[in-house]
Amino acid sequence: MKTIAIVDYGAGNPVSVKKALDWLGQECAITSVPASVAAAARIVLPGVGHFSATDNLRRSGLQDAIAAAIARGAPFLGICVGMQWMFEHSQEAPQTSGLGLFDGESEHFPAGVKSPHVGWNQIECSADSRLFHGLSSESFVYFSHSFRVPLTSNTVASCEYGGKFSAAVERDHLFGVQFHPEKSGEIGLHLLRNFCEL
């Protein structure tokens, strides 16, 4: 199966991601069916809203399907809350566990900066990232979030807002972006194309 599964877990708006992948000519489908996710060539987990919404993934069986697809090597991209879910926990919903693909948890912004962090901010990305291949090391992308992941050993792009945090993480076939590539103009489309062509 060549299809990219855009996981619909009842929160946020997977339509925006689908529009972008359609524009890139990629075969993709929004799905909430675990078997479709488990069989997909690639998986995108969009996310807007509250971390607790990811509880739906566990309840619906989608989490097991995602884990199975990842285990057989399917490239995975988590966006915004979808990236935060790749970590162990979030301070936004301490009782909700993430998938724990990466160590650590997302945390509040420090007092002194407006929260949520909304708008276009510049990121610094590392030259050897596959996700950012062909993009300027200092690009503007669109963020909209109230919690953030600190810098980690898997951070491939960082952003400055009340201190530096992880704008993107990457390890093997696992990718997470805190910003919204589907809303980041040409740069975002380029990044999504990179993910589709891995």
Binding site: V15, V48, G49, K114, V118, N121, F140, G185, L189
Partner: protein, 255 residues
């Protein structure tokens, strides 16, 4: 550094873009989908589509316009006008909007802010406030129904209440300045921006680059919105951003 956003606004009536001067004297300025894409390519950081005819127009015309516009737009896209219920909002999101802007319906029932925020996230809820200065109180009052009726709310207090209910951003229009091209009402914008933690989008009165400099510097705005100066080519977006940058205001450039 987080940049200041320049937002292009398309006022739409019956599926066509128009622009009112103080809510009257509409002029046709073209097709929303084509204009939105042109603005995005020219460097707009976001696009807002306001259906100013919502009260008495067929909603399917709007949803079709939203769908056609969203299909080729890959920057944040907000839709407002005539959204009265969670179902109205859901339909607009399904058509491809990233955020909805609500105004009269939120004043009538602030719980609507909460119900949309709980379903789609606060980042998806923009509360639009049309504010008018009162000589009597020397404050600003929030107006409803497209500026036709006073709501009884002080604009600053209403912004605070909207934030408490779950709004993700405030779109603040000065009715006194709207369409005049005489500059944003920096006193109004600052009064609200300094009272809430969520971003405030300044609207009403944009006429030239210096007005944007002023509203970011003096008005403490996080974003500024304008319609007619972009549609009619009075100012090129890139020139505007260049000027803002030369004044030390962070902007997304190159786009």
């Amino acid at each position: 550094m987080l940049t200041k956003r320049i937002i292009a606004c398309l006022d739409v009536d019956g599926g066509r873009v128009v622009k009112g001067v103080q809510f009257v004297n509409l002029r046709d300025a073209g097709d929303p989908a084509a204009l939105a894409k042109a603005h995005s390519e020219a460097g707009a950081d976001e696009v807002v589509l306001l259906d100013i005819s919502a009260a008495h127009q067929n909603r399917s015309t709007l949803l079709d316009t939203v769908c056609r516009t969203a299909r080729q737009l890959f920057i944040p896209f907000t839709v407002g006008g005539g959204i009265r219920t969670l179902d109205d909002a859901t339909a607009v999101f399904a058509a491809g909007a990233d955020k909805v802007s609500i105004n009269s319906a939120a004043l009538a029932d602030p719980g609507l802010i909460t119900s949309i925020a709980e379903r789609f996230g606060s980042q998806a809820v923009v509360v639009a406030i049309d504010a008018k200065h009162s000589q009597a109180t020397q404050q600003w009052e929030a107006f409803t129904r497209g500026g036709r009726s006073a709501s009884g709310w002080d604009a600053v207090n209403w912004a605070r209440e909207a934030e408490r209910c779950g709004a993700g951003e405030i779109l603040l229009t000065s009715m006194d300045r709207d369409g005049t091209a005489s500059g944003f009402d920096c006193d109004l914008i600052r009064a609200v921006a300094d009272s809430v933690r969520i971003p405030v989008i300044a609207s009403g009165g944009a006429g030239g680059a210096q007005h944007f400099v002023d509203v970011f510097r003096e008005g403490h705005a996080d974003a500024a919105l304008a319609a007619s100066i972009f549609h009619y080519g009075v100012g090129r977006l890139e020139d505007l951003k260049e000027q803002l940058r030369s004044e030390g205001i962070p902007v997304r450039l190159p786009c």
